[in-house]
Structure formats: C-alpha cells, structure tokens
Subunit: 128 residues, 2 copies
Amino acid sequence: MNYSRQRDLILKTLQENAVHPTADCVYELLKKKEPNISLATVYRNLNLLADKGIIRRISGLDGIARFDHNTHKHYHFICSKCHKVYDVPYDVAPDLPARVAAETGLEVESCQVSFKGLCGECQKLTRN
Amino acid sequence: MNYSRQRDLILKTLQENAVHPTADCVYELLKKKEPNISLATVYRNLNLLADKGIIRRISGLDGIARFDHNTHKHYHFICSKCHKVYDVPYDVAPDLPARVAAETGLEVESCQVSFKGLCGECQKLTRN
DNA sequence: GATAAAATTGATAATGATTATTATTATTGT
DNA sequence: ACAATAATAATAATCATTATCAATTTTATC
C-alpha cells in the first residue's frame, strides 16, 4: 500500500469529524479542502482502511454504511428523529462472541450491536 | 387492510421456509406456485407485514434485508462462508434497551444484534 | 348476485448506495 | 531521472429497494 495524499486526508477527515459519517458525508466534508476528490476514491479508501483495521465500518444502523475513527470496542445508537449517531459503552453487553460460542458452538468473528430510538435532545423536544 | 391472495402466500412462504430469506429469495420461492407474482408485490407485503409486527425485518446482517416469521426475541448469526443465517438465543444479551437507558439516558425503541463468523458445518470443512 | 368505492396488483421506471472500469497521474525503488 | 507499480478522477454499471400507474381484485351496499 503506497502513500497517497487523498487517503491521508480521508483518514484525517474521519478523525476530525467524529460524527460517524457516511461515505458521502466524508466526500462532502473533504470537497472543501480538496475540490477534485472523487467519490469513488472516498469509498475505495474508507473500505481499504476498514479492511486494515485502521478505522471501523458500521453497518446495520440505517442501511447506509458509516465509518468510525474509534476502533475500540463499543456499540452505537442512532436517533430516529435527528439521525445523529451516539456511542454506547461496551459493558452493556460485554464478551458476546464468547457467550455465543458457549451457547451455540458458532465461531464468532465479529458482531454488530445497534440501537435505535430517541436521543436526549429529541426527547426534550418531543416531551412538550 | 384488505385480504389478498398474494399477501397470504407470501406469509405462508415465509413460515414454510424458515431460512431468513431475502425479499428476492421469497420471490423466487413463490414463483413456483404463483408464476405471475411481482417482485414489487413481495417487497410491498413483506414491509407491510413487518410494519404490522406479523413478521420481523432483519437488517444489519449483510446489507440485504432479510425476513423472519419468528417474532420472538432472539438474535442472528450469518456464516461468512455459506451465508446461512442461524438464530442466537436472547439470553446471550438480555434486556439491552433497559441497560442502555440506565447507562446513557437514551430512549431505545429497537435494537439489532448480529453476529458473523463460521457456522458448525463450515468449521468442519475448514479444519482440514 | 350486481355494482360502485377502495385497496391491491403487475409491470416497469426511478432512485440511491456502492462497485467496476479505464485512461491518466502520482509514488517508489533503483 | 526513470521505469514499474499503485492510486486517482470520472463515469458507467450494478444491485437492492421504492415509486408510479393503469388494470384487476376485494369488499361493503343495495
């Protein structure tokens, strides 16, 4: 894997915008600094970085793939109203792979835990 | 909601094929009995039945929506080799909404827990 | 049972996210 | 500096899903 300015910028954009952006969102953010960037390049590199374990691909939230600079174990929550994505601490359901293996004999490589509901801000707005 | 023969057949197909089929898979299965069925009708009714809570929509397994006749609380596992979907018992991670609410204050409406890895059969085949 | 209103269907076009293609440009080892 | 290799930009293609709409089916009423 050679160095590329575009890939570098894509990674930085993800680190500086910890909002679990979609590929298209990263593309829009980057276009300000790098107007000639191609959407295909953004997809290519986000997938590459995720495959290398440098970032994380989040699927299952709303059908659209999102990307996370934080590779530590944790889960996600998407607000059904404002569509913002929040982190959920790992200890709400720790060691799932081991539990599944113990109960079923399946060999778990990865797991996705995603929640959907109303975030704090939208709860307030709805309450009235 | 009026009765329709097609919707009835779609529900029966799901109940008789407990393999967590995709919409396209239901369509292919149904074409044997109902050659004139339209893919749009399959999508329309699977979504309708899921919205009514009669069946369950499973998203997050592999990007493609799958459907489950079993509406009881449980999770899913998809084999990364043969792509078969297995059920995972609820008690590997029970009461997640309450735990998330307790830790974060988020109001959880639904959650998706999906595992990926090697199923028993594919483990055997790989071992040699 | 006939009939009109409402719901559903089949066929297909449209959409939206993602991937593939390819000629051009950038990077790297020598 | 230069050839070999990798990456890019632009865009076409793909795939799952949804929207559109004329024709058909279902249902309530007579």
